[in-house]
C-alpha cells in the first residue's frame, strides 16, 4: 500500500451513466476521497454494490468489486470481510436496495458489527425504474405507482439501525463534498459497522427532496454541540422527524467488531496443497 494514493486512483475510466446532476456523483467522490484518506488503495479495497442507480458505482470506481443481486450487497461484503480481514470493504446501495428488498440483511449486518462501511445513496425514490415510491419516500409523495402517495410512514433508516444495535450511525449530503467525505472517513475508521445514510438527490424523478430542499433544511450536528457517544442524545436526533441532520449521530466508543469477538483474523485465501497435516485426526474422531 503506497502512501501517495490519490482519490482519483479509485476512479475507473468508465463514464458514469447517471443523469447529469445526480447526487450519486458526489456520493461516490466522497467515498473515494475517504478511502484514499484512510490509506487504502484499489488493490486492497473491495467495493460491493447491489441493484439500482447506486449499484452502478462499482463500474465507475477502480478496485476489486462485485456488483451483485438486488438487496444482497451486505451479505457479500460480510463474506469478503470474514474471509479477508486484511481487505477494506465498502458496501454501497440505494434506499430501495438497502431498506426494501435488503432490509432484513441491513438489520442483521448492523447486529453483526462486521468492520466494514455501508453508504446508502438515499434519494427517496426508485430512479432506475423511472420513478416509483421507495421505502424512504414521504407518505404523500405521488408517483406512478402511488398516485395518492404511499399513505405509509417512510422508513427511518437511522432509527432502524439504532434499534438493531448499531455501533456507528451517520448521515451526510452528497453535495456538501467536504463534510460528506469526512463523515464517510469516520465510518471507515470506526471499529465495526460504519453506516452512513447519504442524501443523494434524484434530479429526474424527485422534485420534493431536492438539492435546494436539503440545502435549506439540513442541520449539521457539528454546529449543534452534539455528542455522538451519548446514546440518549443520539436517540433524540435520530427520532426527530422535524429536521434533516447531517453528521455522526451515534458512535459506540466500546464497539468490538465481529472479527475480534469471533477470533476471525486469518487470511482464508491461503490453504495447503493437500489435506491439512493432521487431517487423519478428523477421521479418527469417528471411532
Amino acid at each position: 500500500m503506497s502512501s501517495d494514493v490519490r482519490f482519483t486512483d479509485f476512479k475507473s475510466d468508465k463514464q458514469p451513466t447517471w443523469c447529469p446532476g445526480c447526487g450519486d456523483f458526489g456520493t461516490m467522490n466522497g467515498m473515494m476521497k475517504a478511502l484514499a484518506n484512510t490509506g487504502n488503495d484499489p488493490d486492497n479495497t473491495f467495493v460491493v454494490a447491489g441493484i439500482g442507480c447506486s449499484g452502478k458505482i462499482g463500474t465507475y470506481m477502480h478496485s476489486y468489486a462485485l456488483h451483485g443481486v438486488h438487496g444482497r450487497a451486505l451479505p457479500v461484503g460480510t463474506g469478503v470481510k470474514m474471509a479477508r480481514p486484511d481487505i477494506e470493504v465498502m458496501v454501497a446501495g440505494g434506499d430501495g436496495d438497502g431498506y426494501s428488498i435488503g432490509a432484513g440483511h441491513f438489520v442483521h449486518a448492523v447486529r453483526r458489527n462486521v468492520d466494514m462501511t455501508y453508504c446508502v445513496m438515499d434519494n427517496r425514490i426508485y430512479g432506475l425504474t423511472k420513478g416509483q415510491a421507495s421505502p424512504t419516500s414521504r407518505s404523500d409523495f405521488e408517483t406512478s405507482t402511488t398516485p395518492e402517495g404511499t399513505k405509509q410512514p417512510p422508513v427511518n433508516p437511522l432509527a432502524l439501525a439504532l434499534a438493531s444495535g448499531a455501533s456507528f450511525i451517520a448521515q451526510s449530503f452528497s453535495s456538501d463534498a467536504m463534510r460528506h467525505a469526512e463523515i464517510v472517513q469516520k465510518a471507515i475508521e470506526h471499529d465495526g459497522f460504519g453506516f452512513v445514510n447519504v442524501f443523494s438527490p434524484c434530479v429526474t424523478f424527485n422534485d420534493v427532496d431536492t438539492y435546494d430542499y436539503f440545502r435549506d433544511n439540513l442541520v449539521d450536528l457539528e454546529d449543534e454541540d452534539h455528542d455522538p457517544t451519548d446514546y440518549e442524545a443520539a436517540k433524540e436526533v435520530i427520532l426527530d422527524s422535524d429536521k434533516e441532520y447531517q453528521g455522526v449521530m451515534y458512535q459506540d466508543e466500546n464497539s468490538v467488531p465481529y472479527h475480534e469477538k469471533h477470533g476471525v483474523t486469518e487470511d482464508m485465501s491461503e490453504i495447503p496443497d493437500g489435506a491439512p497435516e493432521d487431517a487423519m485426526d478428523l477421521v479418527r474422531e469417528f471411532y
Binding site: 462485485l66 438487496g71 463474506g79 470481510k81 479418527r284
Partner: protein, 593 residues
C-alpha cells in the same frame, strides 16, 4: 415379513430402538452402533423420525454384519420398543424369530404377536437401581447384548465417549445399567432358540453419516468459509464444521436467511477463500436467486443441496430425490454449472473434495446433491477409506502476484474475464497488486464492466459455456458399476440408491437374475450411457421421486425409452424391496418408443 431375507439371517442382524421423539432414541442407537463398530462389525443405520423435538414416533435402526452393509432391509430381528407404536409401526418387518424388548412395568400393555419372543425387562426399575431412570435405554442395550450374544463390555467405550464429559460417576452408572439389563435377561430368559450369536473381528471401523463426510471433505479440501441457514436435513454439515473449521483458521457464520447465506459464501469465494453453503427444501429455492450471479461473475462456489421431500414444506424429515431438475436448471437464463451427486457416504467425502477442485478450476458453481437418507445414515468404513494423503487440491488459474502482469490490458487493467481457448480466465484475488477488477451479474466485457455489445455478449456466453466443454474433456465423468457387466438387464441409478442396489444384486442372483448396475455420481456433465443401454435388453432407472427426473435425462441422452422404478413414500429403497421391484419390472413390457 421378508421371506427372502430369512436366508440371510446368519450373516446380518437387524436391530432397532424406537419410542417417542425426545426419548433419547438417537443417542441410544448410536451407542449400540459404535459398540458394534468397535467390535469389528460393519454397521448401516437408518432413522425414522418426525420433525418435532418431542412427541411422535422415532426409531434408530441398525443393520450389522461382519461384511460390509450398505442398505436397510425389510426385516427386524431385535426391537427395543419404548412404546406400543414402535411395535405397531414395525409389524411388517418383524418375524417369528424376532425378539422384542419392552418394559412390562410401564403403563402400556404391550401387544406382541404370539409367534414372536417377548422379552419383558423392568427397564425403568433396573435403571433406577443403577442410579437413575434416565438410563433405562442403556438397560435395554444390555438386554440386547445378552439376546444377541454380544459381550456387554463392548458398550463400555461407546458409553465413555457419550458420557465422558459428564464425569466418571455417570459413566460408571451407565456401565452398571447395561450390565443390569444383560444379567436380568440372562437370569430370566432362555433365548438360545433364537440362535443369535454376534461374531466379532479384530477390525476397527469409523462410523459416520453423509453430512459428516461432506463436512470432513470440505475441511480436507481447504474450505475455510461456510455460511448457512439452519434447515433439516442440511444443518448437520454446518454443525460439523462449527468448532472444527476454526482449527484451520476458518469460520462458520449463521446467516439471517438462505438469500444471505449464499451471498456471504459468494463474498468469501471472491475474496479468495474456498467457500461453501448447504441447504435443502425451500432453502435451495431462495438460493436460486444467486445461482446466475455465481456463474456470471465466474465465482468458484460449492452449493450443497441435501434433498428432502417436497414440494413446498413437503415432508421435511423424509427422503426424496426431487431436486434434480432444480440443480440442473434452477435460475433464470442459462447458468453453466456442474452437478455432482455422491452415491455413498464415503463418496460424500471424495465428491466434496472434487467439488471444490471443480469450482476453482472452472470458476463455476458446483452443486453437490445429496439427500436426507444419506445425511442421517451412519455407516462403518475402515479409516483408510478417507486417506487424507490422497486428497489433491487444484486451485486452477488462480494467479500469483507475478502472473498478474501477464493478464493486464494496454491500459493496465486486469482481464478477469479474459476470453481464452479453454474458456477459463485468470483469477486474481483482493490484495494482489494490479489485480483490481470488477465482477458483475450484468453481461460484461473482459474487464468485468457492463456491456450490451453484441459481439462481447456472444464472446462471454461462449467462453463460460466453453469451460463446461473443457471440463468434459479434461475430467473423468465416470460411473460406478456393480453386478455382471455382461448382463442383459441394466439398472441405472443416481445418488444414494447405490447401496440398496448393490445389495439387491445378491437377492436377484439367488433368483437367477443377472443385472448390471450403473450408479451415476455425475449429473452434469454426465457419462454418456448410449453404448451401455444399447447393449442391454432392458434398462430400468431407479430413483426416489415420482416423475423420474433422471430417467427423463437418460431418455433424452440416448433417445430410447427406459423402464422406471420410482419411490416417493418418503422412505428410502431397501435392498430386498428393490430386488422384488426389479424382478416385477423386468416382466413388464418395454415402453413404446
Amino acid at each position: 415379513m421378508g421371506g427372502k431375507a430369512q436366508d440371510n439371517m446368519a450373516e446380518d442382524l437387524n436391530w432397532a430402538v424406537g419410542g417417542e421423539a425426545g426419548d433419547g432414541i438417537d443417542s441410544t442407537g448410536k451407542i449400540f452402533a459404535q459398540a458394534l463398530a468397535r467390535a469389528g462389525r460393519h454397521v448401516f443405520t437408518s432413522k425414522d423420525f418426525a420433525s418435532r423435538i418431542r412427541g411422535g414416533y422415532t426409531a434408530y435402526k441398525i443393520r450389522t454384519s461382519v461384511d460390509q452393509v450398505q442398505s436397510v432391509v425389510d426385516r427386524l430381528d431385535i426391537l427395543v420398543a419404548l412404546t406400543q407404536r414402535t411395535i405397531d409401526e414395525n409389524l411388517d418387518e418383524l418375524h417369528e424369530g424376532s425378539a422384542i424388548i419392552y418394559d412390562g412395568e410401564r403403563s402400556w400393555e404391550a401387544e406382541i404377536p404370539d409367534e414372536m419372543t417377548a422379552v419383558d425387562v423392568p427397564l425403568k426399575s433396573l435403571a433406577e437401581e443403577a442410579g437413575g431412570a434416565i438410563m433405562r435405554n442403556i438397560v435395554a442395550l444390555g438386554a440386547a447384548c445378552e439376546i444377541t450374544g454380544f459381550d456387554v463390555e463392548y458398550l463400555d467405550e461407546a458409553l465413555e465417549k457419550r458420557f465422558g464429559g459428564k464425569g466418571s460417576k455417570i459413566v460408571e452408572n451407565n456401565k452398571k445399567a447395561a450390565r443390569a439389563g444383560q444379567e436380568y435377561v440372562q437370569e430370566n430368559y432362555d433365548l438360545s432358540h433364537l440362535g443369535y450369536d454376534l461374531e466379532t473381528t479384530d477390525n476397527d471401523y469409523v462410523l459416520l453419516n453423509g453430512n459428516e463426510a461432506v463436512g470432513m471433505g470440505a475441511l480436507a479440501a481447504g474450505c475455510r468459509f461456510y455460511a448457512g441457514y439452519p434447515i433439516t436435513p442440511a444443518t448437520s454439515i454446518m454443525e460439523y464444521l462449527t468448532g472444527r473449521i476454526e482449527e484451520y483458521g476458518g469460520h462458520v457464520v449463521q446467516a439471517e436467511d438462505e438469500l444471505s447465506a449464499i451471498n456471504m459464501a459468494l463474498g468469501g469465494a471472491r475474496a479468495g477463500a474456498r467457500a461453501m453453503t448447504a441447504t435443502s427444501g425451500a432453502g435451495i429455492d431462495l438460493m436460486t436467486e444467486t445461482f446466475g450471479l455465481v456463474a456470471q461473475s465466474e465465482t468458484p462456489l460449492v452449493i450443497a443441496d441435501v434433498q428432502r421431500s417436497g414440494p413446498s414444506t413437503g415432508m421435511p424429515t423424509k427422503q426424496e430425490q426431487g431436486d434434480l431438475n432444480m440443480a440442473l436448471y434452477g435460475g433464470h437464463g442459462e447458468v453453466p454449472r456442474f452437478v455432482v451427486a455422491p452415491t455413498s457416504i464415503d463418496e460424500c467425502f471424495w465428491k466434496t473434495v472434487e467439488a471444490f477442485n471443480l469450482a476453482e478450476k472452472y470458476q463455476t458453481p458446483v452443486f453437490l446433491v445429496s439427500d436426507l437418507a444419506m445425511s442421517v445414515t451412519e455407516q462403518t468404513f475402515p479409516p483408510e477409506a478417507f486417506d487424507m494423503d490422497a486428497v489433491e487440491i487444484d486451485r486452477g488459474k488462480l494467479v500469483d502476484d507475478d502472473e498478474v502482469d501477464e493478464w493486464l490490458d494496454a491500459q493496465g487493467h486486469f482481464r478477469a474475464h479474459a476470453v481464452t481457448d479453454d474458456g477459463i480466465s485468470p483469477r486474481a484475488i483482493p490484495g494482489m497488486t494490479d489485480g483490481a477488477h470488477m465482477s458483475t451479474g450484468l453481461e460484461h466485457d473482459e474487464l468485468g464492466r457492463r456491456t450490451e455489445d453484441e459481439d462481447e455478449r456472444v464472446q462471454q456466453v461462449d467462453k463460460r459455456n466453453r469451460k463446461v466443454e473443457t471440463a468434459r474433456e479434461r475430467e473423468d465423468w465416470d460411473y460406478r458399476e456393480f453386478g455382471d457387466e455382461d448382463a442383459d438387464n441394466l439398472v441405472i441409478s443416481w445418488g444414494s440408491n447405490e447401496g440398496a442396489l448393490a445389495e439387491a444384486l445378491e437377492y436377484l442372483e439367488e433368483d437367477g437374475i443377472d443385472v448390471r448396475v450403473i450408479s451415476v455420481p455425475y449429473i452434469f456433465p454426465r457419462p454418456d450411457l448410449s453404448d451401455e443401454i444399447e447393449a442391454a435388453d432392458e434398462t430400468i432407472v431407479v430413483e426416489c421421486n415420482a416423475t423420474g427426473q433422471f430417467a427423463d435425462l437418460i431418455e433424452h441422452d440416448v433417445l430410447t425409452r427406459v423402464k422406471r422404478i420410482n419411490k416417493y413414500t418418503g422412505v428410502r429403497f431397501k435392498a430386498d424391496e428393490l430386488a422384488d421391484e426389479i424382478t416385477a419390472k423386468l416382466s413388464e413390457e418395454v415402453p413404446a418408443q
